[in-house]
Symmetry: C2
């Protein structure tokens, strides 16, 4: 009989394999374009079978989301409780500019992961997008901007990883130039 344990623990081998999968996936995503990495590749590199991989991660996106999780959480924490101008305390326009700068930093470091997880529409379905959206919306409200709902996504759109990669790689722009352009958007507040 199974004792009525409320919290069902993950078995040791399961945890080990999860770690292996994430590690292997991180390496593969870093090495090549995300759509050239197949689920087979990841399973093979992690040294696990197909079924094991699919048991936890039904597709590439969910793996990338797991990898991104910690980085995003850290920024979310700083937005909620960090020092101004990123955290509470500064005027909305300055907080928005700081948010843009922080997001560019995140994109710079992990754009390949974001590209792996957020392809087109998928971007809007992640919890992270909801968080960014709520944050920017609250800034708009704090600034007294009328009808903020349509504006929010308009202001978040330039942070789409595809756009950033295009600006950095194809156009050869620097991080600072992108941040500067985004900062000019804060004038709409």
């Amino acid at each position: 009989m199974c004792p009525p344990t409320l919290v069902r623990m993950e078995r040791a081998d399961a945890a080990r394999n999860r770690a292996r999968i994430l590690e292997a996936a991180a390496e593969l995503f870093a090495a090549r374009s995300p759509h050239e990495v197949t689920m087979d590749d990841i399973a093979k590199a992690a040294g696990v079978g197909r079924g094991t991989l699919y048991r936890r991660y039904p597709d590439r996106a969910s793996i990338a989301v797991a990898l991104l999780d910690e980085h995003e959480r850290e920024l979310q924490e700083r937005l909620l409780r960090g020092d101004p101008p990123l955290g509470p305390g500064a005027p909305p326009a300055e907080r928005l500019a700081a948010f843009y700068a922080a997001m560019v930093r995140l994109l710079e470091d992990h754009a390949h992961l974001v590209l792996g997880s957020e392809v087109g529409r998928t971007r809007f379905e992640t919890g992270a997008y909801g968080f960014w959206r709520a944050h920017v919306r609250s800034l708009l409200v704090a600034a007294g901007t009328p009808r903020p709902d349509a504006l929010v996504d308009t202001l978040l759109a330039p942070l789409a990883p595809e756009v950033y990669v295009y600006q950095r790689s194809d156009l050869g722009l620097g991080m600072e130039e992108v941040v500067e352009a985004l900062t000019r958007l804060t004038r709409v507040l």
Copy 2:
């Protein structure tokens, strides 16, 4: 022997099949999500073989591009030679607002096609994006905006079809609300 005709004409059956393919593809794209339409589906619906389809259109994107072509050309024509505020003559900020409104109209009518052709990065590789980019850039230059290059893509980002569909379908916003939000972006000029 073949007479040295300079312009090699498309054969009658080829022209007929091209028309069939485009017509069938338009119907299929209108009916379901673009990624649920396979090349097989299109070939079947058009009543042509697989090889015939691939001869002209190597992938879904190229078909959608062909379908979009005429609509985009019309707007491009109006931007270059139409009446103000869309065409030349009006102040840059007003022209940008008019451009936004016209693009939203285009998205409203053909977002499903754009989604079929421009998935993520692909968007930037089409000739159309280059045109929109050049247009907006010239408006920024005309308005005396310093360092326009990073700002251009920032201003075009909210026109990504994924963003528009998210705002309209998922958030339930109206066309006018989206246009209004975009119009507020023209304040950066």
